[in-house]
Symmetry: C2
Subunit: 294 residues, 2 copies
């Protein structure tokens, strides 16, 4: 892919342009959606799967996965692409199911009607299921299938993954930290760890970094839900308050939330694993923070 | 496990008693549900997961998986147990989502209220998702993760797996054979293939056998939907006709369906892979046919 060397290339790995990184993510997503519903699949489901994945949102999770893989040397780009696609497919699945009437009952997503509004609830239910299955298929075909599947399953799962995060919303009480950890940080953590695993590197320092990035993201998202223009965000706002959801803004107030997210961003910078990929990672997180208005 | 040698044990592998086989399946299911929602998981989700899996129905798919593994020598019982649990978790997930109001809107399953009736739709949606995730986690932790994950994903998927089968129900027209293949035979095929893979054997002859068993099962199920007492079946009957679903009874009439299922059963017997496990497999399929009233 096209790269822009910003620093001594024999000390630091080259930093890919945002355009190159984003392009690689989209190529991986297109491949995975093609495989999810190949020729011969029920046509309506096939169309709905594509609708649920394209055009994407920020694609932060697959970017984080590829950034980690690149920083670790990207020894197996196909596995890294599979891991990145898997993480984003799982995220898309959670959005489709989360928007359904029995959950958030959100009519719009990414500036267009939610999947259940465009295709009906039965198809939306199946789209979410199919995206989960394809996420595992994407990592199942890699040489490091075992470690990647296990990492993804934990991040998705009912104990401390996304599904647990959604389920905590139906419980009478939940700690904000456990809720945010399960609902958001778990998949960011897995994204970074899976990038490292795909490249044959030790995932542990990347787990800590991914978790830190996920916490920044969730706080910024809570602030956006309380303050943003729904047209700019492409989805309804004020949902946390309306649904009585835990939110850092409800817990700390807007100023407290803003102070917290700044501290979380510093912690994420401090958690960047040292090595020749450091500059590449720093460049990515700075763009991420700018996009989140931090 | 306890076995009852029925024939020359140096020529044919011992045939496990039904009780031993069923006990091994239940032990595998209990382990997998414990792992799906461990201590610390949202309590309501944890309870609903267990409710969705226990008590089971016939557990035919995991039995088929273990029978294939045993017939292939069962060199890695832990992997075989993981594969068997994975297949049944996926089946349970499809039942939970299929019973929801946006699909079949079925109030009862296995003689008790459906998951969405007992726990609400939001929890039922998450239970299905969590069961899919755990299915992949169960095979992700085995030494043959790659082949098992890929086989399971294809059987679940949107091109020709269970999800495709459910999606065909929303299409204006579908061929009965493609529909039955996707909705039912795909997972039976995967169950047998995964048992062989877990034991380190060639899955191909087992695919053909599993597919043949799945076709018998689907025809018998269509006949039961048209003729059975709902109390004996533990779920509503007449759903195929009510929902305009393709059914072998609608296509061929009751006598034609009965003739077809007899031919399918003979084909399944003919597809039993030859080898020292042949008697064991034959014994299982005879019990299966008797249970289905064939």
């Amino acid at each position: 892919m096209a790269t822009t060397p910003l620093f001594l290339p024999d000390v630091f790995l080259p930093v890919p342009s945002h355009r190159a990184l984003a392009g690689r993510v989209e190529a991986a997503m297109h491949g995975s959606v093609e495989r999810a519903a190949a020729v011969g699949a029920p046509p309506r489901l096939r169309e709905a799967l594509s609708y649920a994945v394209f055009p994407g949102g920020g694609r932060l999770r697959p970017q984080l996965c590829l950034v980690a893989a690149l920083a670790c040397g990207d020894a197996d780009p196909d596995s890294a692409d599979g891991a990145a696609a898997a993480v984003e497919l799982l995220h898309c699945a959670s959005l489709v199911h989360d928007d359904m009437p029995c959950f958030d009952d959100a009519d719009a997503r990414r500036g267009k009607p939610a999947v259940h509004k465009a295709f009906g609830e039965a198809t939306a239910l199946l789209v979410g299921d199919a995206l989960i299955v394809q996420a595992f298929a994407e990592v199942g075909r890699t040489p490091r299938a075992g470690a990647l599947v296990s990492t993804l399953a934990e991040a998705a799962g009912a104990t401390r993954g996304i599904i647990a995060g959604q389920a905590w919303e139906s419980e009478p009480a939940v700690a904000l930290d456990a809720y945010h950890r399960a609902k958001t940080a778990s998949l960011f953590e897995a994204a970074a760890a899976m990038g490292a695993i795909a490249a044959g590197a030790d995932p542990e320092p990347w787990r800590a970094f991914g978790d830190a990035v996920g916490r920044v993201y969730q706080s910024a998202d809570d602030i956006a839900d309380a303050t943003a223009d729904p047209r700019a965000l492409g989805k309804p706002v004020g949902k946390d308050a309306e649904l009585g959801r835990p939110s850092i803004v409800r817990t700390r107030g807007l100023d407290g939330a803003r102070a917290k997210v700044e501290a979380q961003l510093r912690a994420a910078h401090d958690a960047i694993p040292s090595g020749p990929g450091e500059l590449l990672v720093r460049s990515w997180i700075e763009r991420f923070a700018a996009r989140a208005g931090l």
